[in-house]
């Protein structure tokens, strides 16, 4: 085989890998629509009430490397915004729950509306703009009195 053909084929294989990697990076942390599942109080460990306008549920595990940073960010978000609650669920010792909710990576983040309906889920650290948009749609914008 001509040397340039061999190099070209090899470059093609590497380019294919790069394309797969680009797709993975582009889909990670994006919002996917919920399947209409509704979670009531007690359905998830630590979920005592779903009375907030929006409840953010983060699924974590002990050895998950990006979970602590996501937890800091989401806790901060819940403190800053009215009507947003935050719950952290440790999946380390609950593989059956991970299987039932089809969670393949941590962190995975669910957003529940008032009433506990799953309106969006994020695999990986959620993108801030997409998470913000979901929360905006659930939490009434405060009316400012000028």
């Amino acid at each position: 085989m001509q040397p340039w053909v061999a190099v070209l084929i090899t470059a093609g294989v590497v380019a294919l890998a790069a394309a797969i990697g680009a797709v993975w990076r582009a889909t990670r942390g994006r919002r996917r629509a919920g399947d209409g599942t509704t979670f009531g109080p007690g359905d998830l460990p630590g979920l005592d009430a779903v009375t907030a306008d929006a409840t953010i549920v983060q699924f974590s595990t002990e050895f998950c490397s990006t979970c602590p940073a996501t937890r800091r960010f989401l806790r901060h978000l819940a403190r800053e915004r009215d009507g947003v609650a935050y719950v952290d669920v440790d999946l380390t010792h609950r593989p059956e729950l991970a299987g039932r909710l089809r969670i393949l990576q941590t962190p995975t983040v669910f957003v529940l509306d008032r009433g506990g309906r799953l309106v969006g889920r994020f695999g990986g650290p959620p993108r801030r703009d997409e998470l913000g948009a979901v929360l905006d749609s659930l939490v009434p914008t405060p009316e400012w009195n000028l």
């Binding site: 084929i9 090899t10 991970a98």
Partner: protein
Amino acid sequence: MPASTIPGTDAAAQPPKPIDSRGPRWVGGYTFVIAVAALVVALLTPIEATIQGRLLSPEFILIAVLWLSFAAGTFGGNGAHPFAAFFRRVVQPRLRPAEREDPRPPRFALLVGFVLTTIALVLHAAGVPYGLVVATALVVVASFLQAFVGFCLGCQVYLLLARARIIRPKATLAY
């Protein structure tokens, strides 16, 4: 809380010690460099006519090196992979401490590499044209993703198999 107080677990079923998640990425880089070299060389020259020629061809020797490394990691544990050992002794002490992860999914990824390189070596020794090329191309793709994107293809396979209960980890899996 000691693990023995958690229902369904006991001292014998402790999850293994987490590993520095940069280790598998360095192993991916090492694998990528050798696999790319083997792929180019294998494409350059037609497959040798004699078994001696095939066993002594540079692509066979390069993949044999990878095969031995994968075998060490698969059967001896992640740290037994020669390049993982190099990472732990030479690279890691110079880095800041960082993220750790469950060693079982990356170890399964080493097993996938072991199987792929076994297929490459067997097909090449048997004189199958492009057998080694195709298997090596898969190794190139997986090791590129591991090293440069941080996406471990073999780990995903492991998690899917564990979720389908085809693999049953002894202690709870932290993924």
